[in-house]
């Protein structure tokens, strides 16, 4: 058994952590388990793919890969645009569905609705793009040996770096900026937030935008390092929930730590029980956390 699983686990864990940040933010501020988050990841990947194909068709010469990576400027530009679009998609879901249910219903009705919306979203992807897996590019990546039997591709290293950058940015946002403090305030006590002059509706909108954008980033990285298919995000849902709950709902560092732990546990676990049962590992972790310490590692509230 080599140590390769460490590298694989870290890369997967980084992407899971990134998606889990969106889950933990919407969970703590909007107070419901959003089943659509996985599908925002898938939509982010497909939106990026579509936009990059459009750009590639319009500017054929711009598509060359940058340096050792498999992607070129079209995918980068498409990814940024898609982050905005996915954020808007999340906002649209809220406007059409969740906000209205929030006004009169209970949190459980919103979970049911999100479950249904999630199914509709990925079925729509299946319809538009067919269930067949696809890829951002056909460029082959040479894995770089790092020693101790570990090999990583440049794309994977880029994923780690980008995730670290995004996580750092999120941390700064939440601790140093007003909007970040406002988000933390709404997460703790929405009524008091109103009393101190915070526009809670605006904070909610911002939360959806950020959550959607981060989901898109995770989706693009997942599409680059693995593949793109309609179920890619949904298959990540249990690990996302496990990571967010393990880290403690509302904690961004917790979500990232949770993601890394889940990623590493999965890749270590498949060494013993085989790749087929990968999904069960996240579930077992989730069960353990909920039974032993539901507030998670850094959680402030159960």
């Amino acid at each position: 058994m080599t140590l390769q699983f460490l590298a694989d686990g870290l890369v997967m864990g980084a992407m899971t952590g990134l998606g889990a940040i969106g889950v933990t933010l919407t969970y703590s501020i909007l107070r419901f388990a959003n089943f659509t988050h996985g599908d925002l990841i898938s939509w982010g990947a497909y939106l990026t793919l579509t936009l990059s194909l459009l750009i590639g068709a319009a500017l054929p010469s711009a598509g060359a890969p940058i340096g050792p990576f498999s992607f070129g400027w079209p995918i980068l530009a498409a990814g940024l645009a898609a982050m905005l679009l996915t954020g808007l998609l999340a906002l649209a879901l809220d406007f059409l569905l969740f906000a209205r249910l929030r006004r009169r219903g209970t949190a459980i009705i919103m979970v049911i609705a999100s479950f249904g919306a999630s199914l509709a979203l990925r079925s729509l992807l299946e319809f538009l793009y067919t269930p067949a897996p696809t890829y951002f590019s056909r460029e082959l990546q040479i894995a770089i040996p790092l020693g101790a039997g570990i090999r990583v591709t440049p794309d994977q290293l880029c994923t780690l770096a980008l995730t670290a950058a995004l996580v750092a940015a999120m941390h700064l946002l939440l601790t140093r900026s007003h909007i970040g403090r406002a988000m933390r305030a709404v997460s703790e006590n929405p009524a008091l937030a109103r009393v101190v002059g915070i526009n809670v509706a605006a904070v909610i909108r911002t939360t959806w935008l950020i959550g959607g954008a981060l989901a898109c980033a995770a989706g693009v990285m997942l599409g680059l390092t693995v593949q793109i298919r309609p179920y890619m995000g949904f298959d990540l849902l249990l690990p996302l929930f496990a990571a967010a709950i393990l880290g403690g709902i509302g904690s961004v560092p917790g979500a990232v730590a949770g993601g890394l732990i889940v990623g590493l546990a999965e890749s270590a676990g498949v060494q013993f029980i085989g790749a087929n049962y990968r999904a069960a590992i996240a579930f077992l972790l989730l069960l353990l956390v909920l039974l032993l310490k539901p507030t998670g590692l850094f959680g402030v509230r159960p």
Binding site: H178, A182, A185, E188, L192, R194, V195, G197, V200
Partner: protein
Amino acid sequence: MSGSALLAVDNLVAGYEPGVPILRGAHLRVDAGEIVVILGPNGAGKSTLVKAVAGLVPIAAGSITLAGRDIAGVPAHEIVHRGLAFVPQTENVFTAMTIAENLQLSGHVLTKAARTRQIEAMYVLFPDLARQRQLAAGRLSGGQRQMLAIARALMIEPKLLMLDEPSAGLSPKLVGTVFAKLTDIRGSGVTILLVEQNARAALAVADRAYVLAEGQNRHEGPAAALGSDPLVARLYLGGMAAARGAP
């Protein structure tokens, strides 16, 4: 008469659930520079009244004007921007944030310079808070939390400061400190409206008082007169003993 008032509430009908009003035609008036207290038995609707003014309770009928502008139906956060600060009775600070962060949060409408200046002013007014500004608010004692809640409210230099039972859960000494602070705050030009269960302490600092019962006004007048009126005390304040603040 309400034209010159800072706050004017007329015929207010309000409640959390439609069709079940807690306030049934309440009214009050607060002039600039006053300390006005709302008294009354439990369930009278005192809290509901200030919460309705703050925009936290749906209003079915009636009017509320602040500095001449109508605020009934205006979203709560908007009302804050118009110069009204509210200190709820419970859960009035963000326990997961530090003292400094609680103050910074409130001051977001100000410019950075004004915010820094205001925070320093708050630390002067509440030296206890200045000593532990990086401490999470959840670790503060009851009295310190109350001070932080008031400091938080004062950050925006409000025209009107409303407090819901500021003495609740505090020792008699702390109650004295809080009310002394309120007098200081009024001295710096802030008008104060407070709801209180502890009639004696409140009437000692207030200018005027209203007595509410069952969602309607029952009595109003200068604080001194109300404090020594045995009929009022017996009917609404649990007797003279209670009115004097005895348990």
